[in-house]
Subunit: 284 residues, 4 copies
Amino acid sequence: MKPPATLVALLHGPDQPGLVARTSGWIYARQGNILHADQHRDMEAGEFFQRIEWVPAGPGAANEATELRAFAASLGMSANVARSDHRRQGVLFVSKEDHCFHDLALRWKAGEFAGDFACVISNHADLAGAARHYGLAFHHVPVSAATKPEAERRQREILRTVGAEFAVLARYMQVLTADFLQNCGVPVINIHHSFLPAFAGGKPYHQAHTRGVKLIGATAHYATAVLDDGPIIQQDVVRVTHRHGVDDLVRKGRDLEKLVLAQALRWHLENRILIYGNKTVVFD
Amino acid sequence: MKPPATLVALLHGPDQPGLVARTSGWIYARQGNILHADQHRDMEAGEFFQRIEWVPAGPGAANEATELRAFAASLGMSANVARSDHRRQGVLFVSKEDHCFHDLALRWKAGEFAGDFACVISNHADLAGAARHYGLAFHHVPVSAATKPEAERRQREILRTVGAEFAVLARYMQVLTADFLQNCGVPVINIHHSFLPAFAGGKPYHQAHTRGVKLIGATAHYATAVLDDGPIIQQDVVRVTHRHGVDDLVRKGRDLEKLVLAQALRWHLENRILIYGNKTVVFD
Amino acid sequence: MKPPATLVALLHGPDQPGLVARTSGWIYARQGNILHADQHRDMEAGEFFQRIEWVPAGPGAANEATELRAFAASLGMSANVARSDHRRQGVLFVSKEDHCFHDLALRWKAGEFAGDFACVISNHADLAGAARHYGLAFHHVPVSAATKPEAERRQREILRTVGAEFAVLARYMQVLTADFLQNCGVPVINIHHSFLPAFAGGKPYHQAHTRGVKLIGATAHYATAVLDDGPIIQQDVVRVTHRHGVDDLVRKGRDLEKLVLAQALRWHLENRILIYGNKTVVFD
Amino acid sequence: MKPPATLVALLHGPDQPGLVARTSGWIYARQGNILHADQHRDMEAGEFFQRIEWVPAGPGAANEATELRAFAASLGMSANVARSDHRRQGVLFVSKEDHCFHDLALRWKAGEFAGDFACVISNHADLAGAARHYGLAFHHVPVSAATKPEAERRQREILRTVGAEFAVLARYMQVLTADFLQNCGVPVINIHHSFLPAFAGGKPYHQAHTRGVKLIGATAHYATAVLDDGPIIQQDVVRVTHRHGVDDLVRKGRDLEKLVLAQALRWHLENRILIYGNKTVVFD
């Protein structure tokens, strides 16, 4: 038996007494059954954050989502409401490095994500066959300095055409322009192969090797106009020693990148992430 | 300015719709301000767990605790309510190994715990001077097979005299009897120097070395009548290699034991731990 | 330019003065160039262990391997010598769970292993297509209580036919008999989905959930006649909380299993592992 | 029975064939018994590194150290040779934060270090009593912008007087001048409360909180003329979430700082660390 469809709301606004009671009371009054409720207060900033998941009583989940938004607004909060029976479609950006690509595709096929990849976009043709093997449409959009504006125009068109609600940069080796990121209309999750803010920019494993750090890291974050500076979703590290050359760092880093990016995407698709300022609240 | 006194309730009972709304509604109706609320459902067991921390509106914190217990009972739940302005007193049991003892005493003096050590009980006199240096009364209660019943009688008397509400076995090298544990009237937190359930019983580092494991661990748990079998609070591990002899395991393990025991005690004193069956829910 | 072929010797025997000097002196006298040399002494057991990798001076690597074995014997040591220009062939055993299978196959194709998979053996047909997609021959060898002896006879025959020098049980859900393991003629690496020796046997994630542990683990070990008891190669753990049901443990455990098994196989194929008694020395 | 005195040599120079054989051969020829030998090659830089520990045959350990230095020089290598029967004396610099101070003092008394603290220097008087309780002489050397040159002169004099061979900055909250560091004549180990190179400089936990990282770290390094830029010895991290305010980061960081600094000092005193360029080789 399929579990009943649920609603997940992410609420966010200035703190005030009674918010927990009033949101749960609103749902209870409509005979909804709260499965999970998680709150956070940023005492310093005076902000309130809540993730609440419930089974609505009636069939009108769409209505209930709309009404919750209005209710939240009446409390001075913004609300993002998602329905578990709506699987979001996204686009996977890749280049030639294929480890995150295979990892995400296999996890998707294994049912680990509460969403789907609609297609793959790449600036190289190398992974076309592999994408199709996974049942994913593949769009080859070459990019050069001269063609970048046109390439980004095509990428945005693909996003629109497939009705994308998110994008993932799975070691996509091109910098997306601020213009693209501000206007593509979907959140873009990137994996950077360092423990940000250390070693932002190019060749982070080389930078790490030169500095002689004893741990290397990977960081999944929302891409923003400033390179490698967006809100951090997840990070992890692994120990290295003087015995590890740059090649070893690259190899060990691949495992980190896969785990960190997959975890970030899983959280995103389960509506566990609230962005505020340049930071995230992750209700895990 | 001191933060206002808060109440922390740990609630626990059969799941039913509306519990989140009703508990938060009860507090809101009395004009309390909820600071933190965390819930958990064990779907399989049909159990509901909640930790809720709030600033009561009036001065009557004691009354409010009593009334919340009655309200919880009306919902079929048991409630444990603690007040932040009441610092619980506990007893520290030690033997000769002093690393956990020093660690807990220093953390206590640094203000890391929401409770106090009333005194130290030891079956050896070695740490008497150190205890007094920390300002802790020291009771030397020698234990032998023959004197154990009498020794445990004295230990219970000390617990009673100081009004102990908890006890910590900081590498106390004596097995407390089931009779003591069942009748001492306070929760007893123990640190076992292995990743339980592996290597229960004596000389766990020797056992680990013989088996050739690649990680060693430490486990903080509530002591029960069955040795090394009580509800687990916290565990951690550290990597070892073939280069590490038993002495190295002991040395590396000391750091694990300190961290794991201190974390368990901190959570206990902040009322973050609910025991059910032989497991714990830790609201961290 | 390809790096020159190297020899790797794993030496092992009773400790005596001068072993480091004599083995390195032997290689130096023949104008070999030592790239890595790593030693270990088990002081308690009086055993000496060494891994030494060098570029032999002449073209006669095969001869040099034979001669080193004789030289080691003259020092009372056994020697296992491998040549980097000989890639060992192995067999991958799988059932229906495919995460370790995909992970190993992709790492193999990415060049992470100093050896190859010659074929896949499974008691189910589910992964036949996937195996062929990776370019791997697939042998379906069904197993039932009644047919087990015959099935193991066929498995041994396949090992012989492909010239297997190792086997990997990638979540192969059948217990191999002591007879098979003693007579198959190759080392067999298994992944067990717990932190051994805790939770040996069936359904370890269920056992872990029931016991309420705060970390779950995975263990790669050489399979021996006693189930889940062979020499441990690698272990790792990941944190879990009361929020994680058995399904979450299974999902989180998959990532552990992949990493731990791949690491164990990489070390094995680089001749970094010496077995002695029921333990391993891993020169990483 | 006391173990026999050993020599530990750290060798370092341009790589050439035969170095492993020649150094071990030199010791063997003098009937020394090699206990540990560990090598590393930086293939890119063409550098060879070795740590070798042995029991010399005769009573003349001092002579043997001198002779090994000459022998190493004849191979183009520099050698640092230490004797296990000579315990080095060092100076502990502290300010008001006392967690690293207590941690190091307790480990020292527990026998974890192959060296001793000769005294404590602080710019505040707060820890005078605690230092004396541990049996450590305490020198109060106040520092202000105006008195810094004079203060550093006194500090250097104390180092000279006690015959210091190393110094540890255990959360010493003053920046030592480049002049002091270049002329104090001893290696200086510092603990920085971030995962360098991220968050160098002041208030790293505040910086980490503002950036919204998901892990905080600590770094032990040799202090050099450039602030927080010296060769890294050891690093570690711990997970944090949006629930942790700056105070929590400070508290969690204290445990990291203690472990990382103690590990770095232990390695230093066991002659496990070779510095080259701005990096370290740690033979652990």
